[in-house]
Structures are given as structure tokens and as C-alpha cells.
Symmetry: C2
Subunit: 190 residues, 2 copies
């Protein structure tokens, strides 16, 4: 998505050699109008897969997931939780995900009430890097006996291998902007 690439170049900031901050429109301040534009592309990419639910993970994926749900005709959004609150008394599906950025392992959970074996799940997230979160989300969908019909990331850092890891599992991964590499402080799109 050309406009996302332009927005990354214009508004994104590189921290060190690898971290790309897009907190001005995606994951701290949110440009909802632009989320809706991205959502239209997601709906074009995956509408024919007839998803019944969108699965994302708190917190940065929620805004885009809600826009995508609207663009797909108001299907429900489920966001996986990173900590099990003490109000979550229901049985949960859970899977571990390593955060390379935070250097921590977190367990993400989804209540068994909200994913069923009949669901056709589109996973939506803001970033796809090493794919740890993506694999954990797929693991949760599998526990529910549901099917992952696609994986849509706003920004993919292809050189970190996440999309390849997901595709090996047969997942249809499409990202709105694909970063091939970051070289000498320059972002190279694929």
C-alpha cells in the first residue's frame, strides 16, 4: 500500500538499527481515518475468504482490527489479552509469545467463549516481525478447532522472518507494507 509506505517514510522514526517507531499514527496516537483506508485494503485482500471473526492482540492491533471488522461488514473482533485479569474466570486458550523488543515471554489468552470450531479467523496486527505473536495467535485458533483464513499485518519486517514462518504453516499472509531491509538508516520496501 503505497500510501502506508509514504506515511512510514514521512512520519516513522528509526531507533538504532532496527526499531521503527510509528507511534504518531498507528500504535500510540491513532489516525483513525488512515486505519479505515488500510481496512479497505484488508477487506479487498481477505473478503472473499469469508472471515467470521477478526483476532488481534491488545493493545496496538485493536484500532486496525476494528476498522477491518467494519470494512468486512461488522464481524466481531476478539482481542487476545496479554495478562490474565482476575475478572477472567472463564476457561481460556493460551499460548506463549516471545517479545524480541521487550525481551520477555508473555502468555496471551482468549476466552473459550469467543472462538469456536466454526469460526473462520482473520488475524490482524500492527506489526509482523519475527512472527512470535502470530504463531501464538495461530496456536490459539487451532486450540479452538477453528481455521485461520488469513493474516494481515500493517507493517511487515520481512528480514525478521515472521511471514516465512507463518507461510510454512500454510497461512495466507499479506502485509500492507513490506520492509525488505533497513540499511544505513534507510528503509527499503519490497
Amino acid at each position: 500500500m503505497k500510501k502506508l509506505e509514504e506515511k512510514i517514510l514521512k512520519e516513522g522514526r528509526l531507533i538504532g538499527t532496527d526499531i521503527l517507531k510509528v507511534d504518531g499514527f498507528l500504535n500510540h496516537m491513532v489516525d483513525v481515518s488512515f486505519m479505515d483506508e488500510m481496512a479497505e485494503v484488508i477487506a479487498e485482500d481477505f473478503g472473499d475468504k469469508r472471515p467470521t471473526k477478526i483476532l488481534t492482540v491488545e493493545a496496538s492491533g485493536i484500532a486496525l482490527a476494528c476498522s477491518a471488522a467494519r470494512a468486512l461488514g461488522y464481524i466481531p473482533v476478539v482481542f487476545a489479552k496479554k495478562a490474565k485479569p482476575n475478572t477472567m474466570i472463564d476457561e481460556v486458550y493460551e499460548a506463549d509469545a516471545l517479545s524480541f523488543t521487550k525481551r520477555t515471554v508473555s502468555t496471551i489468552t482468549v476466552s473459550k467463549n469467543f472462538l469456536t470450531k466454526d469460526d473462520r479467523v482473520l488475524i490482524v496486527d500492527d506489526f509482523l516481525a519475527h512472527g512470535e505473536t502470530g504463531l501464538a495467535l495461530c496456536h490459539i485458533v487451532a486450540q479452538a478447532g477453528a481455521v485461520v483464513v488469513g493474516y494481515s499485518a500493517a507493517i511487515e519486517k520481512k528480514y525478521q522472518g515472521g511471514s516465512q514462518r507463518l507461510r510454512i504453516m500454510g497461512i495466507d499472509v499479506r502485509s500492507l507494507a513490506v520492509i525488505e531491509e533497513i540499511k544505513d538508516g534507510q528503509i527499503v520496501f519490497g
Copy 2:
């Protein structure tokens, strides 16, 4: 908002004597169509205050905040973070909030890049209970030198006093559903 009250009675679940779970449409699975309906009411309530930004806190406030931003003509949403990620290298405003549910104190932060003294801030959140999160958000807005033009909660538990605490500070609080009390397992709306 009558329809929200009906939805709470129909889909909400009481845990023990006090905790109301609405994770089937608000804070785990999200009914985006209903978020948009609530957002229309928020826009009616606060549109004439000409907010320039919506402030919420991750994660459960984000969906409603984004719908409200759209209903108000696509103003930006800023969501306060509950943990300071190691990619957040910018200066931040921060304030402490006690969670009565989780029995923890958490520090919420907002990058100084995303709130300025010229902002007219509408705070949106899913729940208003004791008001600790609300006070922390107001504290952050004050640090930026900005003004809080209103506070919109989806569900207010009035008997826990949060709205009163905020109104004493001069904040215009309006909630879409106000629970006066929970008595003998019954929810009594105000």
C-alpha cells in the same frame, strides 16, 4: 442509552457481588457496530465542545475511542500506555492509577509528542468505577497544559464514586449507562 442498558442486562454477567463482565461486546470480544452506535451518542454529547483529541487508555478503551473519533470527524486518538516499552524513548507525561480490580498500582504514560497545550481533550473509556484511571488521565492532560472538555464512559458504576470525584474537579462527565447499584444480584440503572 437504553440500548446499552438492555445489552448489559442481556449479555453482561455479574461475578460475585460487584464485578460486571461485558467481555462479549466491549472488552474482549468487540461488537464494532454497537461501538459505532455508542459513538454517535458520544458525538452528540460532546461535539459542541469541539474536542481536538480523544484520550483513552489501553486496551479496553481503544475500540470505543476510535469509533468516537470517527463520529467526531476523525480527530486523533491517543491511548495512554500502562507499561513504558523500551521503544518509548521520548519524554512522557505519567501518572499513577490504582486498579481496584487487579489490586495493583500502574503508571500510565503518554508521549509528550502527542498532547499539547492547545489540545481540547475528550477522555473516553469503557468503565468508570472509582475514577482512579480517570484522575490519572486528567493529571496527564494537565501536565500537557491542555484542557479536558469532557469525560465519556460507556458504563459508570456510580456507587463507586468515580464520577463524583471527577465532577468535583469540574469535569463534564457523561456516561452512556449509569449503574446506581447492584443489589441482590440485580443491576439497578440510574
